[in-house]
Amino acid sequence: MAQVEAQDHGLHGHVAPAHSVSHAEGQQHPIKLYLVVWGWLFILSACSYAVDYFALQGYLRWGLILTLMVLKAGLIVAVFMHMAWERLALAYAIIIPPLAILVFVAIMVLESRYTEITRVLAFGAG
């Protein structure tokens, strides 16, 4: 949370030296933060590669793939793209609409099951 305070400071600090050329500039966080996130992205990617390398199968495989994917995506959006420090109006406007894709996924799962069944029935199994 120190970063949030630092940012707030950055925004308000602009009031005093109003004459300087550079006006308040957002998103100043310590470099260490980015290096830590970078490191975690490496670890998570190595884990998802390990899922394939050790040929895990079934729900364990899919669960791990999805979990690692969501963690990586979250880190990138929240820290690298600075979404964690934006106002909620922007965050919700950007993050909520893609959830509609999940509805689309549900529809297409039903559709492809139907297509597969008709293929099996019309052309024989396999």
Partner: protein
């Protein structure tokens, strides 16, 4: 007059937080995204639309893979490389992932140094990002060449379901195009940083608006998005 819309924040009164803040921001006149410049807001909205494009590609891939009665080729074997006397599964894709993540890391730091007005470090980190991006595209070209010589076509392949080729070329091709465009723009922005356009507020050749270091962050948003899309492609196409 145009300049007023570029400003970051009006510091008049503290704005409400949380859900109440969303309602207040969205229902206020003029601007819903209060402390975000139009450039950044438009980049986010573009990225949102791009999310739907890639979402639809991955969806069509899912539909093709779920509805086919022919077995799907095993990506772990298809993308294996013969190294050190044995087949290592998916190794090229893993290296590409690490290259792209590294480029995201250098980009994030470039944005940071940009806001600190460290011209040299910003430009060098951006050039490094561009170099890593170009490496990624090069490795993708290698991957395409390998698969094409092995007989993968959009309409057939030696291992199974024919839709494998079309999904592969469509998804990775579109992503590679994004990376390529990103590299080009990284070079353009890096040149501007190097020249000091953002220190002097020089006007851009296209929009004639005064340059500022926020351009580096907006460039960064695009670049991180390219990395983000790869996270999903890696999970769904290569690992699944």
């Amino acid at each position: 007059m145009a300049e007023t819309t570029l400003g970051h924040t009006d510091h008049t009164a503290p704005r409400p937080q949380g859900l109440r803040g969303i309602v207040a921001d969205v229902s206020s006149d003029q601007r819903a995204f209060k402390n975000v410049s139009w450039g950044k807001a438009m980049m986010w909205i573009f990225l949102l639309s791009d999310t739907f494009v890639f979402g639809c590609f991955l969806l069509s891939y899912m539909t093709a893979r779920m509805s086919t009665t022919v077995p799907w080729p095993n990506p772990s074997e298809v993308f294996a490389l013969h190294l050190f006397g044995r087949d290592i599964p998916l190794i090229l894709i893993a290296i590409m992932t690490f290259v792209l993540i590294s480029s995201s890391g250098t980009m994030a730091m470039a944005v940071n140094f940009g806001y600190r007005r460290d011209r040299k470090k910003t430009a060098i980190l951006m050039l490094l990002t561009a170099a890593l991006g170009a490496t990624f595209v090069g490795m993708q070209a290698f991957e395409w060449t390998k698969l094409i010589t092995e007989g993968v076509r959009p309409w057939e392949n030696p291992w199974g379901a024919a839709q494998f080729g079309s999904s592969f070329f469509m998804i990775t091709g579109f992503h590679g195009t994004h990376v390529t465009i990103g590299v080009i723009f990284l070079l353009i922005i890096a040149r501007k940083v190097w020249r000091g356009d953002y220190d002097t507020g020089a006007r851009g050749f296209f929009t004639s608006r005064r340059g500022q270091y926020e351009s580096v962050e907006i460039m960064g948003l695009y670049w991180h998005f390219v990395d983000l899309v790869w996270v999903f492609i890696f999970a769904f196409f290569y690992l699944w």
